[in-house]
């Protein structure tokens, strides 16, 4: 075990347990492999429109998702492939949407920035910065009103903390004591501009928590265990009726902002530093520490690869969506009639 001495923490009692740990590992691996595949497909010109990968940020999506239960709702951004996959939405449907095929999650109508699977509690991905924060509050309001213990979880980036809707939502959630958890994935950049160049405080989310009477929370977003623990705490608080939390997770995206971005604006060496803190690597070491064998992980990796491969084939085989879809589902009657 000596070679793992650098591992951040090594609790004697395993509060997480092997089942959950394997789950965390698997979900991170699903994201890693599915998104890596998305990137390959993009290079093959098979991903249409844009796409925003979370490579390097998998631990956050996995940690928060594993701690959720059925009925909890997720609200994601355009960078929502990871969160969608983490809630168990099939890889095929996600890749299908990125490829704008008929087997896509929304049959190509929404596109990669709007992944939605109500069945899995993924209540949409939102492409306009900040818009989904108040919407998540609404979902939490509904839980509160109906007396359920369901939690709404909303993911957003560091750059999102400077838009008005962020502020309105945090205050609103705090005043109404809503069961909503605000998760800021601080990957140091908005699109291409470093967040520190445009933000008055060092930690754009956590350093503002006190403005809403909330606790200041910053965690290592590349450590799935740390994320999972913090998620559990925040969910428990919300379910108990004690109101919202905001958690700032420090992380880094390995690739560019979107498929169009080669990320040349990063200072030399920065990516390399963060690659050393790759959440998958960290978690593989963690697993070993807790007695999960490399063979077991390799088996999971292979299973996931199979799923991703199968999904890829299914997507390639899927046709484009039929033209009739254009005029469906504007309104609840299934159609688009704005006149008689």
């Amino acid at each position: 075990m000596n070679q793992h001495a650098k591992t951040p923490s090594k609790p004697v009692n395993d509060d997480i347990g092997e089942a959950v740990r394997l789950d965390l590992y698997r979900r991170q691996m699903v994201i890693r492999q599915a998104e890596t595949r998305a990137y390959d497909l993009f290079l093959q010109n098979l991903v249409k429109g844009t796409s925003h990968l979370s490579l390097g940020q998998e631990a956050i999506a996995a940690g928060f998702a594993v701690a959720m239960k059925a009925g909890d709702t997720s609200f994601c951004t355009y960078r929502g492939h990871a969160h969608t996959l983490a809630r168990g939405v099939p890889v095929e449907q996600v890749l299908g949407e990125l490829m704008q095929r008929d087997n896509g999650l929304m049959r190509g109508k929404g596109g990669s920035m709007h992944l939605t699977s109500v069945e899995h509690g993924v209540m949409g991905s939102y492409a306009i910065i900040g818009a989904h924060l108040p919407i998540a509050c609404g979902s939490a309001w509904r839980s509160q009103y109906q007396g359920t213990d369901e939690v709404s979880v909303v993911f957003f980036g560091d750059g999102t903390t400077n838009i008005g809707a962020f502020h309105e939502s945090l205050n609103f959630a705090a005043v109404w004591k809503l069961p909503v958890v605000f998760v800021c994935e601080n990957n140091l950049y908005m699109e291409y501009t470093p967040i520190k160049d445009v933000t008055a405080v060092e930690h754009p989310a956590a350093d503002r928590a006190s403005a809403y009477g909330l606790e200041r929370i910053v965690i290592d977003g590349n450590d799935a265990d740390a994320v999972y623990r913090e998620a559990q705490k925040a969910y428990a608080k919300a379910r108990a009726g004690d109101g919202p939390s905001m958690i700032e997770c420090m992380t880094y995206r390995h690739s560019g902002h979107s498929r169009a971005d080669p990320a040349k604006y990063r200072p030399e060496g920065e990516l390399e530093e963060w690659l050393k803190k790759d959440p998958i690597k960290i978690y593989q070491e963690r697993c070993r520490q807790f007695g999960i064998s490399d063979a077991m992980m390799a088996k999971i990796d292979a299973e996931v690869l199979q799923v991703v491969d199968d999904a890829t084939e299914a997507c390639k085989a899927s046709p484009s969506p039929p033209l009739e879809l254009i005029t469906t589902d504007v309104y609840a009657d299934g159609g688009w009639a704005w006149r008689n």
Partner: protein
């Protein structure tokens, strides 16, 4: 039958729907304990309690976002945006979010909510509190848009809006809050997407909305009495869905079309109707389609200026008379 003000019709309408369905909740600024700045929501807080009638901070994006999130997950929220001019501070939620989430999700998401808001001029409030902005909503695919002109319509159309499974923007007219009208007893439920011919006529069709309906009616009476021009007056009531059947039918009969719009001219609802008629009823028309609108400018505050800047009865009469000469 009872006589009711438009203002009281609003609170009766909200109460009717809240009493009927526990999932109907209501939020906005000063709507609860204070009964609303137009006193259109008096008594609701007392009757339905603080969990269903909720005062909010001045956070319009949070108000509409919260309404959306609740609607998407099972409630039927009513959100008040105090003045329709303020739709601009939450326009992303209007135009990009609630209008599109069903479509983008390929039908997975729903958004059954009502945004009610005080629209229109007449209070000498000036350019930021007097606008008629029905077209801000009408131009956005995915919304439904209603603007009643009478207390009875307020209740019936509001009930229809609350029960509708799609997002509805409900424009109440500030200058009508004091208007009185007969309202049937008991539950009232009307139908979205239906215009009303308020006055049949054979020489020309005049289409109006909200505050302009009364003026169009008065103008029609004068046109008949003073000039022998017999106008059919249509209250559009619902801009989306739009009752084109009613409109095209009327033009087929009268062969002339006038719109009376409170909005500043460019891209007003009347432009859309004019373009539909100029296409589909072109051969029915005997003369130009004429739009009578507020000129395309911000609104002045002073009473004498505000009084003449909106379409007046005089202007309607003059315009129709001259155009029919």
């Amino acid at each position: 039958m009872a006589e009711l003000t438009y203002r009281d019709a609003v609170s009766r309408a909200i109460a009717q729907e809240m009493a009927r369905d526990n999932n109907v909740v209501f939020l906005g600024e000063d709507i609860g304990k204070a009964g609303g700045v137009f006193k259109a929501t008096v008594g609701l807080y007392e009757r339905f309690g603080p969990l269903r009638v909720r005062d909010t901070p001045i956070s319009e994006q949070a108000i509409l976002g919260a309404a959306m999130g609740a609607a998407m997950t099972g409630l039927k929220p009513i959100a008040e945006i105090m003045f329709s001019d303020f739709l601009a501070v939450c326009f992303d939620h209007i135009a990009n979010e609630m209008a599109k989430n069903r479509y983008m999700s390929n039908g997975q998401l729903k958004c059954p909510l009502v945004v009610r808001t005080a629209n229109g001029a007449g209070s000498r409030f000036g350019a930021q509190h007097s606008q008629s902005v029905e077209n801000w909503a009408m131009m956005i695919p995915g919304l439904k848009v209603v603007a009643p002109s009478s207390p009875a319509d307020v209740i019936g159309l509001f009930a229809a809006a609350v029960r509708d499974p799609d997002p509805v923007i409900f424009f109440e007219h500030k200058s009508l809050y004091g208007m009185k009208g007969e309202v049937p007893d008991g539950e009232i439920l009307d139908t979205l997407g239906t215009a009303k011919i308020l006055r049949p006529g054979k020489d020309a069709t005049i289409i109006a909305l909200a505050l302009m309906v009364g003026r169009a009616m008065e103008a029609a009476e004068r046109l008949k009495a003073e000039h022998g021009i017999d106008c059919e007056v249509i209250d559009v009531r619902s801009l989306v869905p739009l009752d084109t059947r009613c409109i095209l039918g009327s033009v087929a009969k009268t062969h002339r079309l006038f719109t009376v719009e409170e909005n500043p001219r460019l891209c007003g609802w009347g432009a859309e109707i004019a373009s539909i008629v100029a296409d589909e009823s072109f051969y029915d028309l005997d003369g130009p389609i004429v739009r009578i609108t507020t000129p395309h400018l911000p609104l002045p505050a002073a009473d004498n200026l505000e009084d003449v800047v909106l379409p007046t009865v005089d202007r309607i009469v003059d315009t129709v008379k001259r155009s029919m000469a």
